[in-house]
């Protein structure tokens, strides 16, 4: 590569060296600032994510009661125990029911909200903020509001007060197993908390669609409304839709706060994270089985996510 023209005019042995030094200093400075900004996150990632995962992997092959130090090698026994543990399997069942409701509902409602907000002519930013605002609320706080104010089982709970106007008896929303009313607070609280986030993703997706496509569709005789949505909007939102579905399913696997705070650690509505928390970080402190369960769950999430991505062709050229 030839040297830049500017350096060629400078006296030999001065400018080139000075420029090279400056460039080196600049690169060194860049590297320094790179580490200043990225370093803490890298260290955080190593210390708080990778090391615990590695340690968890080690613990999963050992007996470790009331200690994080491996005490007795048990091979794959913890994995076998977890995969035959009816409570762990039942927790996966709880997750499945939750996901069956929450994933399509979140998808449909956040898309609907995005379409509505995107069409609003005035105060669009206001509506976007209003629906996005609950995302900033803590799951714990929202769960407590749902539990204590809206869905408590006595006559002064909001839901029971409204039902009372129609002569319906009080319902113990969070304590009745048959019918399983507890799903209503569990699902509505999560919808309230996360719809706004997915709505924003869909709005971003909608704004990426070229208006010329719609114009062409109208020229070709497409009717505004369902037909345009079905043949233009939805296909153009494919990448966003797949991302929303994948994120939603992963978030459903990670359900903890609303279950723990609304219902507690009970076996009829215990998702995997609540069960694993109870085993390893709660009072049982069985970190061997807990680690094995956590790694099984991580493997399930990875496999399902990969399958989902493959099924929907996520990330392929053109997305």
């Amino acid at each position: 590569m030839s040297a830049p023209a500017k350096t060629r005019t400078e006296p030999a042995g001065t400018g080139t060296r000075r420029g090279s030094r400056r460039r080196k200093q600049g690169i060194a400075g860049n590297a320094l600032w790179f580490w200043v900004f990225v370093g803490p996150f890298v260290i955080g990632l190593l210390v708080f994510s990778y090391l615990p995962i590695i340690w968890s992997l080690i613990l999963s092959f050992f007996e470790a009661y009331n200690t994080v130090t491996p005490s007795k090698f048990v091979g794959l026994q913890n994995y076998v125990d977890m995969l035959t543990d009816r409570n762990f399997l039942s927790s996966l069942g709880t997750f499945t029911i939750f996901a069956v409701f929450i994933v399509p509902l979140t998808f449909a409602l956040s898309l609907l909200l995005a379409l509505l907000v995107n069409q609003v002519k005035i105060a669009r930013a206001f509506f976007r903020s209003v629906f996005f605002l609950p995302t900033a609320c803590s799951y714990v706080v929202a769960s407590l509001i749902w539990k204590l104010s809206i869905f408590n089982g006595v006559r002064f709970g909001l839901a029971n007060t409204v039902l009372g106007w129609f002569g319906v008896d009080n319902i113990a929303w969070l304590s009745t197993v048959s019918p399983p009313w507890y799903w209503i607070p569990l699902i509505t609280v999560r919808l309230w908390l996360q719809l706004g986030f997915y709505m924003i993703l869909f709005i971003a997706g909608l704004q990426r669609i070229s208006p010329t496509l719609y114009e062409a569709a109208y020229v070709d005789g497409a009717k505004p409304g369902w037909q345009v949505f079905r043949y233009i909007t939805l296909p153009q939102l494919r990448a966003t839709s797949v991302a929303v579905l994948i994120l939603n399913l992963i978030a459903a696997y990670q359900a903890f706060d609303e279950f723990y705070n609304l219902i507690g650690n009970v076996n009829y509505a215990r998702p995997p994270l609540v069960y694993l928390y109870g085993i390893s970080l709660g009072q049982i402190q069985d970190l061997g089985h807990g680690s094995a369960g956590a790694l099984i769950l991580a493997a399930i999430i990875m496999i399902v996510t990969l399958l989902q991505s493959r099924l929907f062709g996520f990330g392929k050229a053109g997305d």
Binding site: I27, L32, W35, V36, V47, T67, G157, N267, L281, Q285
Partner: protein, 427 residues
């Protein structure tokens, strides 16, 4: 090094220095964030005194936190800081005991797992002179392999308190058997008031007393499951009947440990501890009666769960001797503080016989009745009963009570887990 390499000019030494600096910074900030409850400086304001961290769960009775702080401040041989923990104290404590950042002194309930994993130290030396002044049950619940690991701070009997007026109005006598209780709860249930409140989980807290009332126990003396009898299955089935009859309050904003449901007239009876007596008396005056968990039938016996809190010294404490000295001072020597703790906020029975005998606040009314019921029918926890066994037992009860599952099948499932735990612990 070629100029196009991005980190040209940054030698390995530089990189190590800088990442080392960042790691040190991260460690420093992490240390700043770790709240162990101990003062931040080595000596603190007390010069050469050691620092001790004492952990409590959040008591519901007003004034208890201030009292705990007052006791800590009054101790002059060490700097004692109090960590008051709202929420899931048990989980926080379990995690704290895994590391050296946990408490030096803490309250909890003993289980053999804590001893086997060397989390608590034996306190026989400081208990030697006063052992005879404690109730045998309170010593047994803190003893493993002949060593005493904790000092009982308070005894909390759990029983059924009821509104006398509501029972009188319905012409119902205080229930003596489990069938009486089921019938009374049903009779007392109206569209405004439920018969009884036993917790939003439909009565897991009564799992032990129901078993005792049938003549069973969680574990036998030779460490075998003691809840696999037909009579135990019958008792659990009765708890399901109470639930299925819709006579119990569910979905209360506060749980069974708080007297609000009874005080606010949402229920006629409530399963709760004696700690709530001052609050209930304030709200209901003399309209308050008490019964133990009723006997299953004529062959059974009423039961009272004699729960409570115990003080322990963490084996991971860097100042075990100082911690033991503080624990001895507070829970054995300072009888005025012990009396204050047991009687001036909620009501608890002082574990020391000598103190309980002169506790004037417990010598009349429902408090006196509860003390007598505890003496007659009290059961304390067996330290061999671990949290894992308890989880299996509670899952069994949930399936029986709420789902109406077959008690025999559920008992067999819980026994499997309990047997596995027993073989791990006792071989």
């Amino acid at each position: 090094m070629p100029a196009h390499v991005p980190n040209a000019g940054l030698t390995r030494r530089d990189l190590l220095k800088r990442t080392g600096g960042l790691a040190a910074l991260a460690a420093f900030t992490a240390a700043c964030g770790g709240n162990t409850g101990r003062p931040s400086s080595g000596g603190g304001s007390g010069g050469d005194k050691v620092n001790l961290s004492q952990w409590y769960h959040q008591y519901g009775e007003t004034g208890t936190q201030q009292a705990a702080l007052k006791y800590a401040k009054a101790y002059t041989d060490a700097n004692v800081t109090v960590q008051w923990t709202p929420g899931d104290y048990g989980a926080k404590l379990s995690s704290g005991l895994l590391s050296s950042k946990g408490p030096d002194v803490f309250e909890s309930q003993l289980n053999i797992g804590m001893v086997k994993s060397n989390q608590v130290v034996a306190l026989d030396d400081i208990m030697a002179d006063v052992k005879d002044d404690f109730q045998p049950g309170d010593l047994a619940t803190n003893t493993v392999d002949g060593k005493i690991y904790g000092i009982r701070m308070i005894v909390d009997p759990q029983v059924i308190y009821y509104r006398k007026s509501l029972l009188d109005k319905a012409g119902i006598k205080p229930p003596e058997t489990l069938d009486d209780l089921i019938a009374a709860a049903k009779e007392l249930t109206t569209n405004k008031v439920k018969g009884i409140f036993v917790g939003n989980d439909a009565g897991l807290a009564m799992g032990g007393p129901a078993l005792w009332s049938s003549g069973g126990d969680r574990l036998t003396a030779d460490h075998k499951p003691g809840f696999g009898t037909p009579r135990a299955a019958q008792a659990f089935g009765k708890l399901h009947q109470l639930y299925a009859d819709k006579s119990i309050l569910l979905g209360s904003p506060t749980d069974w440990t708080d007297p609000s449901a009874l005080n606010q007239g949402l229920v006629a009876m409530q399963w709760i501890g004696m700690w709530a007596v001052p609050g209930m008396q304030k709200a209901l005056g003399d309209d308050l009666g008490v019964i133990p968990f009723p006997k299953l039938d004529a062959q059974g016996k009423p039961a009272v769960y004699s729960g409570g809190w115990t003080q322990f010294v963490s084996a991971k404490s860097p100042n075990i001797d100082a911690a033991k000295k503080f624990v001895k001072w507070l829970w054995l020597d300072k009888q005025d503080f012990q009396e204050d703790w047991a009687l001036n906020y909620g009501f608890h029975i002082p574990p020391r016989k000598s103190l309980a005998a002169k506790a004037s606040k417990l010598q009349s009314g429902v408090a006196a009745d509860t003390v007598k019921l505890t003496a007659d029918y009290g059961h304390t926890d067996d330290p061999a009963w671990t949290p894992k066994m308890n989880t299996a037992y509670n899952d069994m009860l949930t399936n029986i009570v709420k789902k109406g599952a077959d008690p025999a099948a559920e008992i067999a499932n819980a026994e499997k887990t309990v047997n596995a735990e027993l073989s791990r612990l006792f071989g």
